[in-house]
């Protein structure tokens, strides 16, 4: 997982570079991605040229969306070794020649799906996704919770970074394994306490502004 010290680049923190892909309606972005993943899962290995075509299409989409090769290489460097090991475990464990076919098609399927997912997170800002869910009549409370969570993730991230800085300042990041373990557990415990206290505070502030448990959005008013 990423270091909380560096908040990962997301579709929100990135500059709003408009590309052909960004201009698509958000439903189409989601549908295209799911379609790519679904067809990657359904194409059998005998039709590997089709899988290759799909890979090329996804790659074209990524370059149209302005994803740099460096970013792509970094993400793939984290993703491919795990996939490689998982795929290898079957033929090695069962000594079955049929399993190699499966392994190769697994590698292809997973890579295409992963790249399609990367395309989506690059072109679909979270705010747009929330609006989409609301438009598709997802339960209002669920969308509200998701929005609430998204808003506070970054705040709690900062909180965690402060806790970690305080810990490192006190013990220079050293100590025995046991000590590291117990301070990490205390850090999560403290984060949990502060998060719950913050939630209670926020809840009182919401009550003061007339919150009655039902969610209203600006879309309803128009």
């Amino acid at each position: 997982m990423a270091d909380p010290g560096s908040v990962p680049r997301t579709s929100e923190t990135r500059s709003p570079d408009e590309s052909v892909c960004h201009a698509l309606p958000s439903g189409a972005k989601l549908a295209l991605t799911l379609l790519a993943i679904l067809s990657a899962g359904l194409i059998p290995l005998e039709l590997w040229p089709a899988q290759g075509l799909l890979l090329a299409a996804v790659f074209t989409g990524l370059s149209l969306a302005g994803v740099t090769l460096r970013y792509l290489a970094r993400r793939l460097a984290l993703f491919l070794p795990l996939l490689f090991v998982f795929g290898l475990s079957i033929p090695v464990a069962s000594g079955d020649s049929l399993a190699w076919n499966w392994t190769v098609s697994l590698w292809l399927r997973c890579t295409v799906s992963f790249l399609a997912g990367l395309w989506l997170i690059h072109v679909l800002p979270f705010r747009e996704l929330l609006a989409l869910l609301r438009r598709w009549h997802f339960p209002v409370v669920f969308v509200a919770m998701l929005g609430f969570m998204y808003r506070y993730v970054f705040i709690l991230w900062d909180e965690l970074r402060r806790l970690r800085n305080a810990r490192d300042a006190r013990d220079f990041g050293g100590g025995s394994r046991w000590r590291q373990w117990s301070t990490s557990a205390q850090m999560i415990g403290l984060l949990l306490l502060r998060a719950m206290e913050r939630a209670e505070r926020t809840h009182r502030a919401m009550l003061a502004r007339g919150w009655d448990g039902s969610v209203r959005s600006l879309d309803d008013a128009s």
Partner: protein, 325 residues
């Protein structure tokens, strides 16, 4: 732990998505009753907290890898199973949609394995154990430790089941993967159990009011809770025992051989019970039982020790007249 796209067959993904959508909808309905107008801020904040807490790495003793919290049982113990399930579901959604961690199509399977089994199943085990162990600090921590361990193993067993159902896995013997998965998850489960216990012990020593006792429920629901707890426990046991199936024909096979059915079922697809050897030195059946045995010992020791530590801390703070309030 997060299932990537392409590992499970599309039809399994869709089925899991339908199941977990139902579970999320049911959780939402029950949540409105439980938390009323506090539902949105409390659940949202819990989800954000679990998400942030997953960034804290724990060194696994003596190993070069590190683990992190999964949080299903922790969230359910603090907020109840319904909010816990929703919180984990939201964590998984944000991880998939924002950070490409875990697949999009397999999101439903991930929610089923970690959110539903982790929060619903884990909470059922926790509540059942609390009934048996009582309401003390040590009992709370021990129950959560055991629930966390069982829920991770049950999730691993469920993954193996989903993987076996996937059309992708019919033309070879997936037992090697199962063995690796279970050994690996026995390790993850120990980490999850000990982290959950340590965090809960800390929370109990500071603000015990944040950890409610499982609410008394009607007799019918009580039975349902015990059934779910038993289901989780037996899934976990199944994960540990599955490789033994290869050692000798199981009951049905033995009977059919004796009576002479065996020729009739030549065409049986080798889904779970193919008769292959596993040449990997670390993937024999004994590695699963060894991992299971060691894990069980570690978890139960951890449950007792962490429970004792929690009680000691609580007493010390009470003696100090709650100065840490």
């Amino acid at each position: 732990m997060h299932i990537r796209d392409g590992i499970l067959g599309p039809e399994v993904c869709v089925a899991a998505a339908v199941l977990s959508a139902g579970a999320v909808a049911y959780s939402l309905r029950r949540l409105r009753v439980d938390l009323e107008d506090r539902a949105v801020p409390l659940t949202g904040m819990m989800a954000a907290m679990v998400f942030a807490a997953q960034m804290v790495n724990f060194p696994l003793l003596g190993l070069p890898v590190s683990g992190h919290l999964l949080g299903g049982v922790l969230a359910a113990v603090i907020l109840g199973p319904w909010a816990g399930c929703l919180a984990i579901a939201m964590v998984l959604i944000v991880q998939a949609v924002l950070f490409s961690d875990g697949g999009l199509l397999s999101l439903g399977a991930n929610i089923l394995n970690m959110g539903v089994v982790g929060a619903w199943g884990g909470y059922a085990v926790y509540a059942a154990l609390r009934r048996l162990l009582g309401n003390g600090t040590a009992a709370t921590v021990s129950a959560a430790v055991i629930a966390a361990w069982l829920s991770v193993l049950a999730a691993a067993a469920l993954f193996c089941f989903e993987f076996g159902l996937s059309s992708n896995a019919t033309d070879f013997d997936p037992r090697g993967v199962f063995t690796l998965m279970v050994v690996y998850h026995a390790l993850i489960g120990v980490g999850e159990a000990l982290i959950t216990g340590s965090v809960l012990a800390f929370v109990l020593s500071r603000r015990a009011d944040l950890v409610p006792s499982p609410a008394p429920i009607g007799r019918v629901r009580e039975v349902g809770r015990f059934v779910v707890a038993g289901l989780v426990a037996s899934l976990a046991v199944a994960a540990l025992l599955a490789p033994f199936k290869s050692e000798r024909p199981d009951g049905l096979d033995a009977v059919s051989q004796r009576i002479g059915f065996a020729e009739l079922e030549q065409e049986r697809p080798p889904l779970l019970l193919g008769d292959y050897e596993i040449p990997l030195p670390f993937a024999g059946w004994w590695s699963v039982s060894l991992a299971g045995l060691l894990g069980t010992v570690v978890v139960f020791t951890g449950a007792v020790v962490l429970g004792g530590v929690a009680r000691w801390q609580a007493n010390r703070l009470t003696l100090a007249d709650g100065s840490d309030g």
